[in-house]
Every structure is written in structure tokens, then in C-alpha cells.
């Protein structure tokens, strides 16, 4: 399947990446090349083959749901680019 420049722009939005025109051009060309290579998977006969998401397929691992020691608020916020000691701060979402 060929990938168009429009596809690449759409994927950049889904990926939450802001790409320059130059980056979009390079990316379109490189992704087309990589996807062109990957396309040979279509020729593999996988009739009746179950998908394998994990190499070691074990059943669900459960544990009791009980509170344990966790990071303090101070530690959890220590790496935040912007915080007010109570929570993370981000640009206003409402009222633009």
C-alpha cells in the first residue's frame, strides 16, 4: 500500500508530532520505502494462524487490591516541567 503525503500529515497529527514541511517530505519518502519493504508480509500464508502478542503466553496474573506505599506528592511532581506543588500545570484547555 502506498503512503501519500496526506496520510503522513494525518499520522503526524495522530502521533501528536508537529513536523515541518521539510520533515514531512523526508518522512513521506522514508515511510514509503519502509512500508514498501514491510508489504511482503502480505504474501505470507497466515490462514488459521492465531496472532501472537506475547512470546511467553501465560494467563492473567492477579494480586489482591490493597494499598501500598507509593511516591509522595513532592517526589511525583519533582520532574514536572510546570507544577504548583499540588498538581501538574498545562496550558488552559477551556475558555480559549
Amino acid at each position: 500500500m502506498a503512503i501519500s503525503r496526506q496520510d503522513v500529515e494525518k499520522v503526524a497529527i495522530l502521533s501528536r508530532l508537529q513536523l515541518s514541511n521539510e520533515e514531512l517530505a523526508t518522512m513521506s519518502q522514508q515511510l514509503a520505502q519502509i512500508i514498501g519493504y514491510v508489504d511482503h508480509l502480505a504474501q505470507v500464508d497466515t490462514e488459521g494462524v492465531e496472532p501472537m502478542a506475547h512470546a511467553i503466553e501465560r494467563s492473567n496474573i492477579l494480586r489482591d487490591d490493597c494499598p501500598q506505599e507509593s511516591l509522595s506528592r513532592e517526589e511525583a511532581l519533582a520532574n514536572a516541567p510546570h507544577h504548583n506543588s499540588l498538581g501538574y500545570l498545562v496550558p488552559a484547555v477551556l475558555g480559549e
Partner: protein
């Protein structure tokens, strides 16, 4: 004294430490001196923790002097790849995104190394977020191969392999998602091992592709790798994919040769594209096994040729999901907010002037633009490419054709191994088709860089353990690696089989001249 210390294996050094013939402070000083003398050329380390390493070494020496109990690696310096969380220490993943990130906790592997009284010497360079095969995608520096400074050490654990190969440290920890321990070990002429998926806890390992990532040892000998694996392996309630199976005493059993060993050689591993010198060295290595009494048998891994395509759908898909966490809000880099608001205001003005209502409706909110600018500025080109590729493979309309299809081919690759291991105990073959390539050679050609992973990705997709050890050199003096692979959880067999070769040959004793 310095070189004589650093030419010894970790096991030999440990015996000297235990016998009181060598102090950990002396050993650590020797490593630091070697780093000072050579690392400005190799650039394996991102940061050297000189003061804390010497403190840890002195503390171990003091406890030994008082005959107090010490851990399994007491006093041995170990280097850590820069994507394992170490409490309070920078953990950057060689990315601008995490240039200032200091984790508030230790990865389980780091905690185990501390409990074993290892001396944590510093953090090694890597491809950004472990995405790459040459260590050139690091945002900070390019690591060089100690055997030829114009060439790549491989990647993504390029720093982890180069520092051991250059004699800066006896042991190091890497991670392997598609070959990132075994390939650099091969290109740098040392031993590197990817354990079974789940053998080592991934808690505190910054995630790239969660169903493929695995932590493992890099060392100068198979015996050393066995010792380090024994310390880091085991079940961890904090990683529900870690396997709750007992950890064998690898470091003890490694010296017992395997009787009646059956070695499988896949005809597909010797197809067109394999370098002649590499082929000769690997075939000679297989003859060594025959001379040791092993039975060599041809096997077939027919789906291996689809490994790279399968991997470059699955790994980027998982990466695109895992790396969604870098949003500029919780930790890591964030774009300049003033500039982003100005940028949006300017765009809105243009759209308004043009009466473009559709454009105005589609315009990013300030929060979304914050994400997009942050990620555009924080990630390098290879990481962006993989996020894009993964997002594409998972997006509506393409999911069945790419992601789901790749998961099915993944099972076929695993079934090839299952069938092969009904007939043989280990599979032997090349680790890469050619020796170390020149820096910059593949930098603008991502697909060619991906194809370097031909022989390594299948083990990750199948979850089986794989090991690379030195088995020769090219006429120009570049190391050649032999890859051995074993069934799920057969690390013991893998290490014992590798040790047999090592004891019969001298390739592991060669050291890069720097």
C-alpha cells in the same frame, strides 16, 4: 598494574577481591583511570559517577576487612545503559526529552545490583530510546568502536559494549529489543546475552517495545555473563510478565560442558548477502563444536526472512503507544509556552483574515499544540520515524494489514524455532551479515539500518534466549561474532554451550588496542 587488572575477567577480579589481593577502590580507580585515558576517543559513557563509585568501593572494602557479609558482586564495577532508572541519578535514554530526568525509584535490576554490592560506575550511551543499531541516534554523542574509531560499536547498547571492549569496566548492563545487546557485543568482540523474555524484570526499564524488551549482561567472558545474569534474573511482583521460575546457579554450571550436544545450523543464515570472512569464521566455529564432539545438523527456519518486516511493524507499534507518555506535562521536556501561544494566535489571525472557518475548527487547542511542539522538539528523527510508523500500522484501515498480520507471522517464526528445537539443543549462526560498518554509512538510509537486524530480531519475536560471543576477526582486525540461540528458559544450556567454545578458543582474550 592498570592494564593487568583490566585484562582480567570479572570472575578473576572477584576471586582477587575475595582473596584480599585486590581492593575494590584500586579496581575502581583503575577503571576511572582507563576511562580518563581513552573515553574522550570512544565516548562510551554519558556520565561517570566517580565520587559515588569510589564511596561504594570503599564501603565494600571496609566490610570485607571486617569480614562482614558482602553481596555476590561485591566491589566489581558495573556500567548501566542510560535507560534503567537509578534513583536520583540522571536517566536520559540519550534523548533531549529526558535530558534532566531523575527517577524517584530504582529499576529492579539496579536494586539487585546495589544489593549485590556492585560498584555502579556510570551511565552508558545508546541510541535514543534504544531505537537504532549504531548508537548514532543518541542526542548527545556518537560512540566509537574501540577496534576502529571510525566505525560504529553497534547499537543500541553501543556504549555498554564499547566500555567493556575498551577495558573501562569489566561488566555492563544493556537491553535488547531486536538485537541491541547481541549485535554491539558482536561488533565489539565481547560477550552479550539476551535472556528469555521475562527472565529479568523490566520494572524501571524505560519502555520501548514492551513485548520484546529484555535486560541482559555484557562482559569479556561467558563465565562473567553467567555471573551477572544470575544476579539480575528472577521473578518480580512489580513486573507481571517476569517469569516465576527458579533461577539456576548459572555461574556454577557454566563450566560443565554439555555431553552429546546437538548444534543446529539454519541454511537460511548462510544466504546471499553474508560477508565471506564472517561466513568463514562462523563455519570454523561450528567445526570447533564438531571437534568437541557435538553433532551438527542442518535445520530450516523458513519464516526468518520475514523477521525484519515483522519486527518493524510490531516494535514501532508498541513504541508509538509507550512513547505517548512524553506529553510535556508529567516529566521531561516541555516546549516554550509563550512561543506556542504566540504561534497559535498568529495562525488564528491568518485563518480569520482569510475567512477559513474549516481551518479555524481544525486548529490545535493550546494543550494539543503543547504536546505536538514538545514532542517535535524533544524527540530525534529516528524516534519520530518509529512513532509515525507505529501509529500508521495501528491506525484505522491498516491495523489488519500490518499489525495483526505481523502478530500472525510472529507465531510462525516462533513455530519454526519450536520445530527446530525438537531436533537440536542450540542453533549457531552469524550475529550480523558484516563486521562493524563505518559511522555515517547508513545514517541517511533507515531501511538499510533496519536490515542489519536480520539475524537478531527473531529471538525477540519468539522470546527465546540468544547469546553472542567472539569467534574470529577480519583480516583488517574487526571482531566477528557467533550467535547461539536456545529454547525458552534454557539459559543454562546456552551459557554452558557458549563456554565450551570459549574454553576451546582464544578469541575472547583479544583486546582492542587503544
Amino acid at each position: 598494574m592498570l592494564m593487568s587488572i583490566l585484562q582480567r575477567t570479572a570472575c578473576e577480579l572477584l576471586r582477587s577481591l575475595e582473596a584480599g589481593e585486590l581492593l575494590s577502590v584500586e579496581l575502581t580507580q583503575a577503571c576511572l583511570e582507563r576511562i580518563r585515558a581513552t573515553d574522550h576517543r570512544v565516548q562510551a559513557f554519558l556520565r561517570v559517577h566517580e565520587a559515588s563509585a569510589l564511596e561504594q568501593a570503599a564501603a565494600v572494602d571496609a566490610r570485607r576487612a571486617k569480614q562482614q557479609s558482602v553481596g555476590r558482586l561485591a566491589g566489581l564495577p558495573v556500567a548501566l545503559k542510560d535507560l534503567l532508572c537509578q534513583r536520583g541519578e540522571l536517566t536520559t535514554c540519550a534523548s533531549r526529552m529526558l535530558a534532566d530526568f531523575r527517577p524517584p525509584y530504582d529499576a529492579t535490576v539496579v536494586a539487585k545490583l546495589k544489593a549485590a554490592d556492585a560498584v555502579l560506575l556510570g551511565r552508558t550511551n545508546m541510541d535514543e530510546f534504544a531505537m537504532g543499531g549504531s548508537t548514532e541516534s543518541s542526542a548527545f554523542q556518537v560512540t566509537r568502536n574501540p577496534w576502529d574509531l571510525e566505525r560504529t560499536p553497534g547499537g543500541s547498547s553501543g556504549g555498554a559494549a564499547a566500555c567493556v571492549a575498551a577495558g573501562m569496566v569489566p561488566l555492563s548492563i544493556g537491553t535488547d529489543t531486536g538485537g541491541s545487546i547481541r549485535q554491539p557485543a558482536g561488533l565489539c568482540g565481547i560477550v552479550g546475552m539476551k535472556p528469555t523474555y521475562g527472565r529479568v524484570s523490566r520494572y524501571g526499564l524505560v519502555a520501548f517495545a514492551s513485548s520484546l524488551d529484555q535486560i541482559g549482561p555484557l562482559a569479556n567472558s561467558v563465565e562473567d555473563a553467567a555471573l551477572l545474569l544470575e544476579v539480575i534474573a528472577g521473578h518480580d511482583p512489580r513486573d507481571s510478565t517476569s517469569l516465576d521460575d527458579p533461577v539456576p546457579a548459572y555461574s556454577t554450571s557454566v563450566n560443565q560442558p554439555l555431553n552429546g550436544l546437538r548444534i543446529g545450523v539454519a541454511k537460511e543464515h548462510f544466504a546471499a548477502g553474508l560477508d565471506t570472512e564472517v561466513e568463514q569464521a562462523v563455519r570454523a566455529a561450528i567445526q570447533v563444536y564438531e571437534s568437541l564432539g557435538a553433532k551438527v545438523q542442518e535445520i530450516s527456519l523458513p519464516h526468518g526472512k520475514h523477521g525484519v518486516a515483522t519486527y518493524y511493524v510490531i516494535a514501532p507499534s508498541e513504541a508509538s503507544s509507550n512513547l505517548a507518555r512524553y506529553d510535556g506535562a508529567h516529566y521531561g521536556y516541555r516546549t516554550n509556552e509563550q512561543e506556542l501561544l504566540q504561534e497559535l494566535a498568529a495562525e488564528r489571525k491568518i485563518l480569520q483574515a482569510a475567512g477559513d472557518q474549516h481551518g479555524l475548527d481544525e486548529l490545535d487547542s493550546a494543550l494539543v499544540r503543547m504536546y505536538r511542539r514538545t514532542r517535535a522538539e524533544g524527540f530525534g528523527p529516528e524516534v519520530k520515524r518509529r512513532i509515525m510508523l507505529g501509529t500508521y500500522s495501528l491506525s484505522a484501515g491498516y491495523y489488519d494489514a500490518y499489525y495483526l498480520k505481523a502478530l500472525k507471522v510472529r507465531r510462525l517464526i516462533r513455530q519454526d524455532f519450536d520445530r527446530a528445537f525438537e531436533q537440536v539443543d542450540l542453533i549457531a549462526g552469524p550475529i550480523t551479515a558484516s563486521p562493524a560498518f563505518k559511522l555515517g554509512e547508513l545514517a541517511d538510509d533507515p531501511l538499510s539500518m533496519y536490515l542489519v537486524d536480520l539475524y537478531t530480531v527473531s529471538a525477540n519475536l519468539a522470546g527465546i534466549p540468544g547469546l553472542c560471543l567472539p569467534c574470529g576477526q577480519t583480516h583488517s582486525g574487526l571482531p566477528i561474532g557467533l550467535q547461539l540461540q536456545a529454547p525458552i528458559l534454557q539459559e543454562e544450556r546456552l551459557l554452558r554451550g557458549a563456554r565450551m567454545f570459549e574454553q576451546a578458543t582464544d578469541w575472547h582474550k583479544l583486546r582492542a588496542k587503544l
